[in-house]
């Protein structure tokens, strides 16, 4: 079943077209990767899918509902959670508290209820706490629960951000370069986490530079180059695609100059 339909999405910044007429589908229960050389428009597209940016044209349907024009908060409430290329943790809060904030996406008790410390506010608090420890256990980082985010190692930071996104109870989890800055062991742990997340019934979308990781985890890959989609298909097909090879070699030649 199609969970996410991206249709003809275009985003321009002044004279530059960062994303040009991109369309693809994400099927439920799969891991889909978005790859491409630097500046291909991956992050711009990610922002457009999650309400952090608004595409100039096109449509993004999630379970048949239009996401374009919604605020980030409404997007996450609809069931699309995300992480950031530069982790956006709350540095002074512990790992556990960070994950608890994720629960706010599905909670609705407000200021007044909390001010009066009504039982419903306490119950909600307990629920968020239990959910946070469950998720930290699921990902295997429960021993970090009381450590302030500022003191966490890079690999754990990535995983805490994933746990926080999961606390919003998404149907689609979008990860922006989750392996950036990780060592080999940490990357292995990340791969295990991704499979565990998918097996728990959550569809995963991932922007990533680490080709080994992308080829290992994805069911399907979309390749962007200079804003446009140049290929789409399973990893084995993408590896042999002449347009993809040209784009990447071209990219590397440019880098060397």
């Amino acid at each position: 079943m199609t969970l996410l339909q991206v249709r003809n999405v275009t985003r321009r910044f002044g004279g530059l077209t960062a994303v040009e007429d991109v369309s693809f589908d994400v099927f439920e229960g799969t891991i889909k990767a978005l790859i491409g050389p630097n500046g291909a428009g991956k992050s711009t597209l990610f922002n457009a899918l999650t309400g952090f940016d608004r595409p100039d044209e096109g449509s993004v349907l999630f379970e048949g509902e239009e996401l374009v024009g919604r605020r980030p908060r409404d997007t996450v409430r609809a069931g699309v959670a995300r992480t950031f290329q530069n982790t956006q943790l709350f540095e002074e809060m512990t790992a556990g508290e960070n994950v608890m904030v994720g629960s706010q996406a599905r909670q609705r008790r407000g200021f007044t209820i909390a001010m009066l410390r009504l039982p419903s506010a306490i119950a909600e608090d307990r629920d968020a706490r239990e959910e946070a420890s469950r998720l930290l256990r699921l990902i295997g980082i429960e021993e970090w629960v009381d450590v302030p985010a500022a003191d966490l190692p890079a690999g754990i930071r990535r995983l805490v951000e994933i746990a926080r996104a999961l606390a919003t109870r998404p149907r689609l989890l979008l990860l922006d370069e989750p392996a950036a800055g990780l060592n080999a062991t940490e990357t292995r742990e990340l791969v295990q986490t991704l499979f565990r997340v998918r097996d728990s019934g959550i569809t995963v979308g991932i922007v990533e530079h680490d080709m080994g990781l992308v080829m290992e985890v994805s069911d399907e890959i979309v390749v962007l180059d200079r804003g446009a989609k140049i290929a789409e298909g399973p990893p084995r097909m993408i590896q042999k695609d002449p347009a993809v090879i040209a784009a990447y070699l071209g990219g590397e030649v440019d880098d060397d100059v």
Binding site: T50, F52, R71, P72, R73, V76, R77, A81, R82, T83, F84, Q88, L89, F90, E91, E92, M93, E97, M100, V101, G102, Q104, A105, R106, Q107, R109, G110, F111, A114, M115, L116, R117, A121, I122, E124, D125, A128, A149, E161, R164, A165, A167, T168
Partner: protein
Amino acid sequence: MSGRTLRALAPLVAVAVALVVPLVVSDRFLLKVFTFCGVNALVVVGLALLFGYAGQISLGNAAFVGLGAYTSAFCTVELGWPWLLGFAAAGAVAALGGLALAIPSLRLKGHYLAMATLGFGLLMSLAFLEAEPITGGVDGFTGIPFPSIGPVEFRSASSLYWLVWGCVGVAVLVAHNITSLRPGRAMRALHGSELGAQACGVDIVGVKVRTFVVSALMAGLAGALYAGVVGFISPSLFTLTASVTFIAMTIVGGTSSLAGPIVAAVALTLVQYVDALIPGLPRETAQTIQSYQEDIYGIAIVLIVIFAPRGLAGLWKRRNARNEAS
């Protein structure tokens, strides 16, 4: 005594000390000084929520104190309302002011927000001066009645002390409930990373607006209390200097804490009244200290920012963490 028991006992000790003050302090002026400490503490609890937890600076909170003070004075003196009704009106008018100030805060951050709130504060102190028919202009407002609730009038120094610190107690309880539950985490999340907070579904507009309103409400109620305690208000009380003093107390007190800012509010208020606090102090010494009051605040901020960026609360937490580790 271990760090853990000490930390558990600290709030109880604080409450006990606050309760005992009017019983041991016989000097009426000194008791009034401690009452002013409570008025400032009430303003600072609101600012601690806004700045210490949610990370939104306001250099205009003295304007809310003024709004509250003038509203309560006007309602009781000119309209003849009962004090409690004027007190409620003071809170409501200040909260509306907070709502008005929250609107620029939605688009502004950091220095820009500081400038906007500063502008608001300046504008309001000008308004207090110019709106003569309501505020009495430069001469201010005199003959404001003592606070009263029904037949109970708060006339004596000790009853005013109870009233003010009772209000502080309620405010702390409310603020503690906010900070220890979901809204508090949303506020700290906002402080930590607005992008991250948005990605968690935090209603950042709602959190900012509500926090501004609550902080303005507390400042407004503090203003009404001040007017009732002193019986006289004038525009010179609600200036930029006062706003900066409140923010100084909040910074020295520390982020993500209520106790720290309250301690700082009391300590920095007492600096203004050293002569009352230390009976044998020569007049000249007291005057010297008082004339350097703003410099003392300035130095306190600089020292805190350099040596303890998380304020007194941060020092206290660090000490506890060390005790637990050893």
